[in-house]
């Protein structure tokens, strides 16, 4: 059984696009956003791939709730293996791009190969096209935007561009809220994903779409979000649910322990609620560092009809973290790689302890990755 959500597999070298539906099983196991992206990356990326090579893949994903009333500006997540650490890395780009990508017809775009010349990828109402735009990377964001909007997709298009300032590369997106539009004020991309895209000769991603996103309970979600907004001014301490206070600091699972903070961050990246437009810690707010599991479950149910409880949400986030760590273990965590390796070992994450099919892969419901990650 499948949903309306789609994955595009793009071969940049051949300019070919294949599309697949996101199966219901995939949705239930990983939701969307970084969750499905991690699964796809483990499934598609070649073993021990060189991050700068054409064989490396980069996945652009919209969050599970991106473009809905719960996350109209939900973050787009870019996942790849990068040269910065030699491991799987992610870059989150806030703004309306993710929602527009969903309205353009795709939840996840998997980029393979390397384009011959500097290319802009255009996603528009279920189609993916490639446009060669020489010198685009050297222009400022407003110039890039003007060029791309005029020549390609019109004024409603949303963009993510790679910009260069000295030796640093930046992700520049159509901004909102407090996001800066000026490259001098922006933080360089530390994840290294911008380098991967640059190595693939992809200098910009542009989306424009008119596809309607179905809402399971329109009246319910309006009432819910309205109530949430009205609670912004109420003091945080009075509204903080007791369940969050009682939460243990770590979550135990078949592959060792994971911090609750990391579980929350992963879930936010799966849902695309990184940039919700609301201050953190609002009443029932799934936002910022204060993700509330019950609020997240309510929003998923009202928007998509998928009924999940708090434990299931934690299980999904744990599964996504486990996949990433198992992938990183295979790619080789060495002592010289510093803190990440230390953290892994402290939590019982060693190749000997974790990479076991019956004890780890089967209970985590990722047994289909066994042949790829063993």
């Amino acid at each position: 059984m499948t949903t309306d959500r789609k994955i595009a597999l793009v071969d940049l070298g051949r300019c070919e696009v294949e599309t697949f539906p996101v199966s219901m099983d995939l949705e239930q196991r990983f939701l969307g956003g970084s969750g499905v992206a991690t699964y796809l990356f483990c499934k598609q990326a070649p073993k021990m791939v060189d991050p700068g090579s054409a064989d490396n893949i980069c996945i652009v994903s919209a969050g599970y709730l991106s473009g809905t009333l719960s996350a109209p500006l939900g973050a787009a997540v870019l996942t790849s293996k990068t040269a910065a650490t030699g491991l799987m890395a992610r870059a989150c780009v806030d703004g309306p791009f993710a929602g527009q990508m969903r309205r353009a017809g795709f939840e996840h775009v998997v980029l393979k190969g390397r384009a011959e010349k500097e290319t802009c990828m255009l996603i528009c109402d279920g189609r993916i096209e490639f446009k060669v735009v020489p010198g685009l990377k050297d222009n400022g964001l407003s110039d890039q935007r003007a060029i791309l909007r005029k020549e390609a997709l019109g004024y409603e298009a949303q963009l993510i561009c790679i910009q260069k300032n000295g030796d640093d590369l930046f992700f520049a997106a159509d901004a909102c809220l407090a996001l800066s539009k000026d490259v001098e004020d922006m933080e360089p991309d530390k994840s290294g994903v911008a380098q991967v895209l640059a190595a693939k000769n992809v200098v910009a991603l542009a989306c424009s779409g008119t596809i309607a996103l179905e809402v399971k309970d329109p009246e319910g979600i309006i009432a819910y979000e309205k109530k949430l907004l009205e609670g912004i001014d109420e003091p945080l301490t009075q509204n903080r649910p007791e369940t969050d206070i009682q939460d243990p600091e770590t979550i135990e699972g078949p592959a060792g322990s994971v911090d609750l903070t990391q579980i929350k961050q992963t879930l936010m990246q799966c849902l695309g609620v990184q940039c919700l437009g609301l201050p953190s810690g609002t009443k029932n707010g799934a936002n910022g560092s204060e993700l509330n599991f019950q609020a997240a479950a309510d929003r998923i149910l009202l928007n998509t009809g998928l009924a999940l409880d708090e434990d299931e949400l934690k299980e999904i986030a744990y599964r996504c973290i486990a996949m990433e760590r198992i992938y990183n273990l295979r790619e080789g965590i060495a002592a010289k790689q510093g803190r990440t390796a230390e953290d892994y070992r402290e939590n019982g994450w060693t190749r000997k302890a974790v990479v076991k099919k019956a004890k780890v892969f089967d209970p985590l419901r990722i047994d289909d990755l066994w042949s790829r990650l063993k």
């Binding site: 473009g67 809905t68 009333l69 109209p72 500006l73 309306p96 929602g99 309205r103 407003s142 935007r145 003007a146 004024y155 409603e156 159509d174 901004a175 909102c176 809220l177 407090a178 539009k181 008119t210 596809i211 309607a212 996103l213 179905e214 809402v215 329109p218 979600i221 309006i222 979000e225 309205k226 907004l229 009205e230 912004i232 437009g277 609301l278």
Partner: protein, 159 residues
């Protein structure tokens, strides 16, 4: 019956598009800005966003342009222009006539749509967290703008 105008402040709008999404869900049951009665226009030239809705013009061009007299002034809860879908034939003349481009066309139903101020309590105002959208008495708009102007002119002055 009261006369109210939905006003938008580009200096406060942060482009979050909550108003647009909420409106589309309420009126069409889907997340699609194309179905929203409010449009957030991004102005690259000045780095601002401007939410636009039907201004319910006194001498409305859409009323004059409609060959079937399907658009009229309504004075029930608030003063507004409304479309009578029993008379509308979907000719799109009103879309062309509107000076603000705030009348949309629903291709699924084959008919135009416009803001009806949600019967006097617009949902977009509730969802505008930065307070860029407000429903105001038209006689008070000039005082609000005059006050902003006066504050700018007297900045730095002390009693």
């Amino acid at each position: 019956m009261t006369m109210k105008i939905l006003t938008s402040d580009p200096n406060k709008c942060n482009g979050c598009r909550m108003c647009q999404t909420a409106c589309a869900i309420l009126k069409a049951g889907v997340c699609n800005p194309e179905k929203s009665r409010i449009r957030v226009i991004e102005m690259d030239e000045c780095d601002r966003y401007l939410p636009l809705v039907c201004q319910n013009c006194e001498d409305a061009p859409c009323i004059a342009a409609c060959p079937k007299e399907a658009i009229s002034r309504s004075y029930d809860q608030v003063v507004r222009t409304v479309i009578d879908y029993n008379k509308c034939v979907g000719c799109k003349m009103c879309l062309n006539a509107c000076s603000f481009g705030t009348i949309g066309f629903d291709e699924d139903r084959g008919r135009p749509f416009k803001c009806d101020l949600c019967g006097g309590d617009p949902l977009c105002v509730h969802f505008c967290e930065p307070g860029a959208l407000t429903l105001k008495d038209p006689t008070m708009i000039q005082y609000d703008q005059a006050r902003v102007s006066a504050l700018k002119r007297t900045a730095g002055m002390r009693r």
